[in-house]
Amino acid sequence: MRVGLSGLIGAVLAAQAVAASAQELNLYTTREPNLIEPLLASFSESTGVKVNTIFLKDGLAERVEQEGEASPADVLMTVDIGNLVDLVDRGLTQPVESEALAAAIPENLRDKDGNWFALSQRARVLYADKDLDLSSFTYEDLAKPEWQGKVCIRSGQHPYNVALTASYIVHHGEEAAKTWLEGVKANLARTAGGGDRDVARDIMGGICEIGIANSYYVGLMRSGAGGPEQEEWVKAIKVVLPTFEGGGTQVNVSGAAVAKHAPNKDQAVQLLEYLVSDEAQKIYAEANFEYPVKPGVAVSPVIEDIADLNADGTDLTEIARQRKTASELAEAVGFDN
């Protein structure tokens, strides 16, 4: 009990100390602790700013919104463009002007008013049975009858797939997207569900031949970070960077914003600037196998085969705006049933 009690008291004190200290910073994030902690440790070491964190899942925006002006949150960090735009729409962010951020992040990967900044990118790629004779692929191909009973994918309601469908809508319109989703649904080898890595495992298990999943999982599996079994799964597949017809590979981002009522705004900006430094961008690439946002920082050699990313040029906020329609389309075609 003593540990719990001291934890309780410690938490109370920490909460009270929060607003007072000038050399602290409070981070609300939905990103994984294992990934973020090395970045924060290195930030604290070089700046002397201590970072208090809370790792959330759903409801980050709701919590900050309800905490209101008293919110201790300085930096809000999340994945998926939809979540970033959502924070802005709810008025939970504030514009930031920073030359360092503007110089490091290409214009299409940050809000024009400085309300959000992308910190890393991930691509929605194709995992295919390694014996398949396949070197190029389009997202449109997924719906072709030749793949009937051969496709694995996670839930159509998962934010990664919703963003993919939303991109499809931006490219081809809602009607075409619906037809496409129906076609993909008809090709599924099993119920849509599980995680992205299950695509590799199910290909190895003979359940399907191709599937769509995120790029960094390839690196996580290959590197052995997920254990020896996953190294086997990833050996059963090859990875292809698909494109939209007349476009590029669908890309999503992780990113951050400075909270509207941030008590430590200067430190918050300092953290964002650190996160786009060469050093931090390299950690994103090496530890989590994401694509850096900063031009010139290399991707991890572990995913060398998909390093040459031709990112689709669609405006990210445009994709975020189609999210609701995309999610409803997935339900309308019964994608997950």
């Binding site: 309780l8 938490a11 602790p33 790792f55 709701e62």
Partner: protein, 547 residues
């Protein structure tokens, strides 16, 4: 008793209990009301979309899931409880507590473990292929566990203790003489079970099944792994993917209304039933030959598949993880946080549960009955959604506290409830109070009113009657509810994630953090400790029941 006497009893039974029960009900009601306010903001076009695209499938899947899980938990829970309480067979004493073990395994862990074990590239199918002489899963593989039957089976296997526990507590308090009477009248063990024990056990079976079904319906982790689309999944996609909290709140509240209507219906069904308790302990029938071994097998199967297999898997995964990454230095502190907050919340929930059921007992009437029903609302809402409803309530309280402190002391404590973890206690109590009220109520239903009257005639105040008669008699029920609440608090994830302070982790949030990248194996150590913490009270409880 004359009407005057009865009235004077009631008058003296004091408004204090009523007021306290009202306060408890309001505490639970506030987050639901907050959801109501969210819902009122409106979500144009939502229901048209739901009716044409979502409800036909989601409602059917939800009903199939609930019927399937309900059948499994009610049957498995009642039969095993009866065997352990009323029969003697090899291993009975061990099964007495071992049958509770699956409780300690969170549903998402069970789902993940079985998916891994039974996957075509997993150990089980690999062994079968080797045995049959196939070399690749392309040549031979078994049906996928990721299906509705798979989901029903797995949820049933870990949720049946919700029925086993109260039913067994009830059999432990039950009139042995009623069962003896049954036997004297010529009924065999099976007939006694079917015609005496089951009707007697109905309140406990109903409570237990209702709890298990609410767990099943609000589950999102296992459903996601196993590809089952319940209405709860629609609540999430409406909220998360469409940023439509009002719409999500509307669906959640509609589900809540249906759940409560069903619970009321069942209660009405046994409204006229009254129970009398006898002090005679149950005499066990010794089973012999194949019957004895059959009983052993029936009790062993759920323990093996609901606990041993996933726990064995976890041990293996935890060991691999330990060799790969060592032990997180923070895990001890996190285990301490988990145990401390779960224990505190359990105590508070039991106390408040006693208040609510006590009031209903002492001042029977529409008002106190309604309070008792309202206090169970939190369990019928998915965890995350309840937590979202709690947010504005807690934030409002925090603002008031801060303003008062500023005015009186001249210092602002910041967000005190959210910053101290007190919000977690509130969340756990609001969510799991249903287990306390349900369990205690089922226990009290065994205490005949004549006992109250006797104690009152002997000059005891209503409060004394409650302390000196009701609480001691329902001790097994209290212990059972306490165990369920504690284990549920230890496993609780969504509210803990959303409402905890900065720099604060419990085992379940640690587990989530490790698993967030999709590798539940990485979280095996935390998961194993969650299971271990859940086992401790099971042992304690086993002793309490036996005494």
């Amino acid at each position: 008793m004359t009407p005057e006497l009865a009235r004077s009893f009631r008058l003296r039974a004091g408004g204090g209990w009523q007021a306290a029960a009202l306060a408890v009900a309001v505490l639970v009601l506030l987050p639901v009301l907050a959801l109501g306010l969210f819902a009122l903001r409106g979500s144009p076009g939502l229901w048209a979309h739901l009716v044409s695209n979502v409800l036909p499938v989601a409602a059917r899947q939800t009903v199939i899931l609930l019927l399937g899980v309900g059948f499994i938990v009610a049957t498995l829970g009642t039969v095993t409880a009866w065997l352990v309480a009323a029969c003697d067979f090899p291993g009975r004493r061990i099964f007495g507590w071992a049958l509770l073990l699956p409780l300690a395994v969170p549903t998402y862990i069970v789902a993940y473990a079985y998916l891994d074990l039974l996957h075509p590239v997993g150990p089980v199918q690999g062994a079968i292929r080797g045995w049959l002489g196939y070399s690749s899963p392309r040549e031979f593989r078994l049906p996928d566990i990721r299906s509705m039957p798979g989901c029903i089976l797995l949820l049933g296997l870990v949720l049946y203790p919700y029925v086993y526990l109260p039913v067994r507590a009830l059999f432990a308090m039950q009139a042995g003489n009623l069962l003896d009477a049954g036997r004297t009248l010529g009924a065999g063990p099976v007939a006694t079970f079917l015609r005496v024990a089951i009707p007697l056990a109905r309140p406990a079976v109903a409570i237990g099944t209702a709890l298990a079904l609410m767990e099943a319906m609000n589950d999102i982790g296992a459903a996601e792994f196993l590809g089952v689309r319940t209405l709860t999944v629609s609540v999430y996609s409406t909220w998360i993917n469409r940023s439509d909290l009002p719409g999500a709140a509307q669906i959640a509240l509609a589900m809540l209304a249906i759940t409560m209507a069903l619970v009321m219906l069942e209660r009405r069904g046994r409204k006229r039933q009254r129970y009398a308790a006898g002090a005679q302990p149950l005499r066990r029938t010794r089973l012999r030959g194949w019957r004895a071994w059959g009983a052993t097998l029936v009790c062993a199967l759920p323990v093996a598949f609901g606990f041993a297999a996933p726990a064995w898997y976890l041990v293996g995964a935890a060991w691999a993880r330990y060799r790969f990454a060592g032990l997180s230095p923070r895990i001890l502190e996190e285990a301490g946080n988990t145990a401390f907050f779960a224990a505190l919340a359990t105590l508070v929930a039991l106390l408040l549960g006693l208040v609510v059921t006590g009031a209903a007992r002492m001042r029977p009437g529409r008002l106190t009955q309604t309070m008792a029903r309202l206090s169970t609302l939190g369990y019928a809402v998915p965890g995350t959604i309840l937590a979202i409803g709690l947010l504005p309530v807690i934030a409002l309280a925090d603002r008031q506290i801060a303003a008062a402190s500023q005015a009186l002391l001249g210092v602002g404590p910041g967000l005190l409830l959210l910053g101290s973890g007190a919000a977690l206690i509130y969340a756990y109590v609001a969510r799991f109070l249903a287990i306390a009220t349900g369990g205690i109520e089922a226990g009290l239903s065994r205490v005949p009113r004549s006992l109250d009257h006797v104690a009152r005639t002997l000059g005891r105040s209503p409060g004394q009657v409650f302390r000196e008669v009701h609480v001691p008699i329902s001790r097994p029920a209290l212990a059972a509810s306490g165990l369920l609440i504690f284990v549920d608090c230890v496993k609780e994830l969504p509210a803990t994630l959303l409402l905890r302070p900065l720099n604060f982790e419990t085992l379940s949030t640690h587990l989530y953090g490790e698993a967030a990248r999709g590798t539940y194996e990485d979280a095996a150590i935390a998961a194993l400790i969650i299971v271990a913490i859940g086992i401790l009270p099971v042992m304690v409880l086993a002793r309490t029941i036996r005494r």
